[in-house]
């Protein structure tokens, strides 16, 4: 049996470039208009898996992501860096899922990939900054969890030892496997794409992508089956739709406001001596300072 590692990664809108039309009227994110990237901390998670693979010849890395069809892009990115296989969970019925519904779907998919030793997630995704999906998947799979991993210092088939980065310090813990860990941004950055792997997996596709490109894929997939990125729907993971999407999400977005500054009446001053001196005098007289 191989040492199977499942890496959870999410394709996220790059929140550093948000425009006005980024939100839909129902309060969910309009992903279509934003550049989509591999969630940064999930790359750190992938790197931790790749490091185990360097040390254990029996290690196998599976990248699992749930998202729209284009999220297959991050599976390819993971293959270029050394992941062995990818699964994309995609279905319209997942739309609008909050962390609870997302973790439900991911946990069902992970059950299909049993037996595994380790599930590695990022600490948090930059679109929501919630850091909830990791622990919630762990709960649904009845796994112990170790959050904020900075480094895996040892991994055997039975036990893992990890240094965690906490707000005000570090902690080393060991834990029985299987387990779920989440990886912090202070962990090692992910290695770049590997040129050989890039050549090998450049044409890796999901079936829907191939249909979109109207290519004849049957032949390619029989001669090079590793190029197929598997797609799973709600039915494939035996999910109960009641627990998915908006209906499976106890949190509702009531209101969204763009951030606007309530402009104050501000006094504009220059750097002239007299302006600065008047200001300082004011502050001292009113006991704000001094």
């Amino acid at each position: 049996m191989s040492f199977r590692i499942i890496v959870l990664a999410k394709q996220v809108p790059d929140t550093r470039n948000v425009g006005k039309d980024a939100m839909k009227a129902d309060g969910t994110v309009n992903r279509g208009v934003l550049p989509a990237i591999f969630n940064p901390e999930d790359l750190h998670a992938l790197e931790q898996a790749l490091r185990i693979k360097e040390q254990r010849s029996d290690a196998e890395i599976i990248l699992l992501t749930m998202g729209p069809p284009r999220a297959a892009e991050i599976i390819r990115e993971a293959l270029y860096r050394g992941a062995d296989k990818g699964y994309l969970i995609t279905d319209r019925k997942f739309a609008g899922s909050d962390t609870l519904a997302t973790s439900y779907a991911l946990s069902l998919a992970i059950k299909k990939l049993k037996p595994f030793h380790l599930v590695i997630a990022g600490r948090q995704a930059i679109d929501g900054d919630t850091a909830q999906v990791g622990p919630q998947v762990a709960d649904k799979l009845d796994l112990p969890q170790i959050t904020y991993t900075e480094e895996i210092t040892k991994a055997t088939t039975k036990e893992i030892t990890i240094r965690r980065r906490l707000e005000r310090g570090v902690e080393t813990v060991s834990c029985q496997l299987p387990a779920l860990i989440t990886v912090h941004s202070s962990a090692a950055s992910c290695r770049p794409r590997n040129a050989k792997l890039l050549m090998k997996f450049k044409h890796a596709r999901t079936v829907s992508e191939l249909q979109e490109e109207s290519k004849d894929y049957t032949e390619m997939l029989t001669s090079k089956p590793y190029l197929q990125i598997d797609e799973w729907s709600v039915a494939d993971i035996d999910a109960n739709t009641e627990f998915l999407g908006l209906s499976g999400s106890p949190t509702k977005v009531k209101k969204i406001e763009n951030v606007v500054f309530a402009a104050k009446e501000s006094v504009v001053l220059s750097s002239d001596d007299k302006d600065i001196e008047a200001l300082m005098k004011d502050l001292i007289d009113s006991h704000v300072i001094g």
Partner: protein, 339 residues
Amino acid sequence: MNNIFVYCEFDEDHIADVSLELLTKARKLANELGCKLEAGILGHNLKGIEKHVFPYGVDVLHLADDKRLYPYTTLPHAHLIIDLFEKIKPEVALFGATSVGRDLAPRIASKLKCGLTADCTSLVFGDHKDNKSGKEYTNLLYQIRPAFGGNIIATIINPDTRPQMATVREGVMKKEFHSESYKGTVKHIDVKELLHDDLFPVRVVERHMEKRKVNIKGSPVIISGGYGVGSKENFDMLFELADILGGEVGASRAAVDAGFVDHERQVGQTGITVRPKLYIACGISGAVQHTAGMSESAKIIAINNDPKAPINQIADYSIIGNIEDIIPKMIKYYKKNTK
């Protein structure tokens, strides 16, 4: 009416500040609803701990005292709180958005299948009407938080699941005694009965906790520097000004990323939230992620050579010019005119 619950984080020998801030907020929310405030402390050697939390207005304090509960690991804490929630069925449950709270709360929410909102910056009660079902709700907890990298402010509600769970970062709420003589009752959780060996797959091998070096949050005056300060050396001017004014030096993330100052000084959405008497923003443009952490300061002075910098819009005084000119002038005037 069911009550409001706060998970109080126990750290070696005291209750974390963020928990006391949450108790302060939760007491006010409980008064609004006319319900009680309950709290839970899970740790070891907790004798006498109640007198540190009752003044914040705690009516019922649940205590679990066992050496296996400190240092914190997820499963035993989650198990005890889930069991407690099944018994007391709180209306609202609040956790610090700390390494512990953000590890624990999602696990509990998953088990109880209830909604959880991370990193709230404001919590208020309000009403809600569901457009589809027409169902009306009163006194739902509006969980208000920045989302999408701070570009929007979202109000989240959990209409149908209880407790309504939220985490809040340290420094976002104010910490205040409710009444120094306030007395609640202590209830002991039956730890021996509830904890079993399966809950301890994780073993803490080693811990190194650092004492906090700077205390920006408690400082009445903060001189904050941004990327516009330009260098580590220029930050020395800010340190000098902070020193003579009895304040602390803060920073924007760009200044921290550029290596001008330590991360622990970062103010903003992913740093600390401050509300000093005086905040001087030097060479800071005023991105929302920064202002989220300082806009409630009593007085704001912006020093920026760009008259159009957004920080000027929230400043009481905008000084247009270079920090290299202005800060030395401030230092000089202050030294000359105070003893």
